[in-house]
Each structure stands twice: as C-alpha cells, then as structure tokens.
C-alpha cells in the first residue's frame, strides 16, 4: 500500500538527479567522509559545551551523598536552588582528607581528595593507596565518612558510610549502583533500606561487620534486613562493607586510640579537680 508509492517517489527523485552518479564509488567515499567529519565536529562541540554542566551535576551528586550520610540534607525538599544549597552545606561542614592504609594522614589538598575514587585506588599496590576520608565537623561533634565500592549483581555498587566519633556506631549510609534490577536490587538506594543502618554497630570480631539477612528474622545491633528478590545485591552490600572497612581499619584504629587518650586526659583532669 504505502510502500509502493514510497518506492515510486524514490525513483522519481533519482531520475531528477541523473547528472551525478550517486551510486559511484568516488561519490560514495566522499559522501561518507563528509558525513563522518560533520558528525564528529557536531559531537565534539556538543560534548565540550555540555561538559561543565555534567561535571557540576556529578560534583553536586557526590556532595549530596556525603552530606546525606550525616543527615545534613533533611530540608533539601524545601530548597529552591538545590545545587547552591548543597555547595553551602558542604563548605560549612565537610573537610576532605586522605589517609594511607595505616591510617596516617597524607598531604593531599581538599580538591584532589574530592576526585579520589576508591575503585581506582583499589587497583594500586597497597602502599600507594590514597583513601579518601571526609570529616564532618558540626560544632564539637566529629563524624568520619568513608567511600565504599563493591560489586552487586549486574555491575558496580558504591556509596558512603559515616561513623560517629567512636568509630563504632554508624551515623548513616548512602548506596548507589550502576545497573541493579529496578524494584529489586536497585532498592538499596531507597531511604527505607538505608535508614536501617543508622545507629547499628560494626562487629569488629566478625569477618562481616554488618550482616544483611533475610527479612523477617530477629535483628540485633549488627544486622539489618536485606531486600526480598535482591539477595545478591544485598550480599554485595554486605561484602562491600566488609572489604572497605578492612581498608580503613588503620584509620579507624588510629582515631579510636586518639579517643582513648583524650578520655584518659579528661579523666586525669577530672581527678585533679
């Protein structure tokens, strides 16, 4: 029906353009070269023009995730300019630092720490790793935020975890993923799942500091409910926490011993008084 008239139209128009042989090799080659060059220029221009906006989006997302772990994005829904708000809050509370595997601070500037990716660091030999740590200072209260990176079912999963200053209690977590199944594994990004981690304690004696178990069982301070239908992703989160906390172990121990010293000092002072 339609096709017949389409083909006829095509033939008509071909007749009009008889002058150049559009099916000749030379024409075809020149045609494809021009096509490719035009497309390449177009895409380069578009990519260059949109890069700053895309970079900014990623930066804001990262800052938002970091702030979320320490509960500093509670009133974000009421904010008009989200990007501006996040930038301000981040500047107000968060300081970035890098630590080596033994927990010693490295001399790296804030802006470089911000671009550190755990995934890339994990590929390096242990001694050269620079682990990003974000420190949230809210008045006297200090909280430490670590980056996480692991594997889900279909691809990478990553996130941030914040600890209270005792380095034992989880203040909050944020998870994100590359391509987990929507509605199942992808549920790790939901508030309901992430809220469970708040105020849980990490179990240093167990090889899995936090256990994600089948929903419905008894929960204690080291366990949270997994996601029905998202078992492999849940297990991935559990493993990610275990692996990454091992990386930060040096740092965690260091802060803990500092805390102890401070406590002893204050105790001494109290006794003197």
């Amino acid at each position: 029906m339609e096709n017949n008239s389409d083909i006829k139209n095509k033939q008509d128009s071909n007749v009009k353009h008889k002058k150049i042989d559009i099916n000749g090799s030379a024409y075809t080659v020149i045609y494809s070269v021009i096509m490719v060059v035009v497309v390449a220029v177009l895409l380069t221009v578009a990519s260059t023009a949109l890069k700053p906006a895309q970079k900014l989006n990623q930066e804001i997302e990262k800052k938002e995730n970091i702030l979320k772990t320490v509960g500093k994005t509670a009133d974000i829904a009421n904010v008009k300019n989200k990007a501006e708000y996040i930038k301000n809050e981040y500047g107000k509370y968060i300081r970035a630092a890098a630590t080596d595997i033994n927990g010693n601070f490295l001399d790296v500037s804030d802006s470089i720490v911000f671009t550190l990716e755990l995934k890339r660091e994990l590929a390096k030999p242990e001694a050269e790793r620079q682990l990003p740590v974000f420190i949230c200072k809210d008045g006297e209260q200090l909280r430490y935020i670590f980056q996480l990176h692991g594997r889900g079912l279909w691809g990478s999963i990553w996130g941030y975890i914040a600890f209270e200053s005792d380095m034992h209690t989880i203040a909050g977590v944020v998870f994100d993923h590359e391509g987990e199944t929507p509605g199942l594994g992808a549920e790790i990004t939901t508030e309901i799942f992430q809220k469970q981690f708040e105020n849980k304690k990490i179990d240093e004696d167990n090889s899995l500091p936090i256990i994600i178990q089948k929903p419905g069982g008894e929960l204690n301070s080291h366990t949270v409910d997994g996601i029905s239908g998202g078992t492999i992703t849940s297990k991935g989160v559990q493993q990610m926490l275990a692996d990454n906390l091992k990386l930060y172990k040096g740092f965690i121990t260091k802060i803990k011993s500092q805390n102890n010293n401070n406590n002893i000092e204050t105790n001494d002072k109290n006794q003197e008084l």
Binding site: E2, S13, Y31, M35, N57
Partner: protein, 210 residues
Amino acid sequence: MSSNNGLKIFTTPFNSGNPITVLVLGICSALAVTVKLQPAFVMAISVTVVTGFSNLIISFLRNTIPNSIRIIVQLLVIATLVILVNEVLKAYVYDVSKQLSVYVGLIITNCILMGRLEAFALGNRPIPSFVDGIANGMGYGIILIIVAFFRELLGSGTLFGIRIIPESWYVANGGFYLDNGLIILPPMALIMLGCIIWIHRSVNQDLQEK
C-alpha cells in the same frame, strides 16, 4: 496517497500503525524502562525527538544518499542524535538520565527508527517525514506510559514517585496490602503488552487476520 494527508500520517501510529502493538517493534526497551512512570516518560520524549529529527534529516538527504551505504548513513544520523540526547539529559536532567542508564544509548538499536527511515523518510518530503517520525515516537511513548502506569501503581504503589496506595495499608505497617513483586519484572511487562495488543485488536477489528 497518505503523504498528502498530514492528519492521517499523524494518527496512524496511534492506531492501525502503532509501532509497538501492531508492528511489534521496540519491545525490548518497552519492557525495560516501564517499571516507573518518570523514566518511561523521559524515554518516550527522547525516542520521539530522535524519530522526528532522524526522519527529517534523512528526508532532506534522501536524494543524495548513495544506495550502497544507505543503512550506514541512517545509523550515523540516528547514533548522532541519540548521543546528543544522552548528553543533554546528563547535563540537564541528571537524575532521570541515571535511571535510564543504558537504555537511552540503546535507542540506537530501536527498530522503530530504522523502520520509519526505510519505509517513510527515504521516499517522502521532509515535513511529512518529520510528522511521521514525531507521531511514531508518540505512538511508542503512549504504550510505554500505559504499561508504566500499571506497573508503577501495582508494583510500587506510586505514580511519578508520589504515593497513591497509603503507607498504612501495607503489611509492614500492620495493614493488609503487599506490592505485587511480579509486576516489576520484565516478563509481566510482556504479558501486559500482550493484553494491550489483545484489547487493541478486539476494539479495532480491521487488525485481525482472517
């Protein structure tokens, strides 16, 4: 015939020439992005933009394209447009582009695009081709949105992320209701699509083969 009739070009894809329910093209993405309404909606707009403009461009070029590299030229145009759409989404609606992830890139492989270029844009003037592209994109989109509407409502109890089924009804909060987990999985989307085709064919009897 139909190339003179703008209205018909526009309405056919919604009924007797619907890309999904009649031509059964673009099924893969229709199953993948319809878990929630928002990504389905953005996907619908993206596909509409790409079908519209690829039809327009190919129609402009139709008399100059060497026959031996016809398909490659078509693909080049489609791929360029898809990359542009993807970059724009990443720059301006970052959240949604994250949800759509690879499926925006996979618009390139959507059969509707090549189908329309081959069947229409190569033999028609630019304006009718553009209308045909837009209409086909919308015909595809409307099915996506219908499927996503039911999947999000029954599978997550929300619409566009806004809660429709009250929180207190859920078993977890002492109620009686549970979301249907099956609806979220792609097989259920296929069954739903089958039902839509069934309804479409029983309403429009012309579509039934004798």
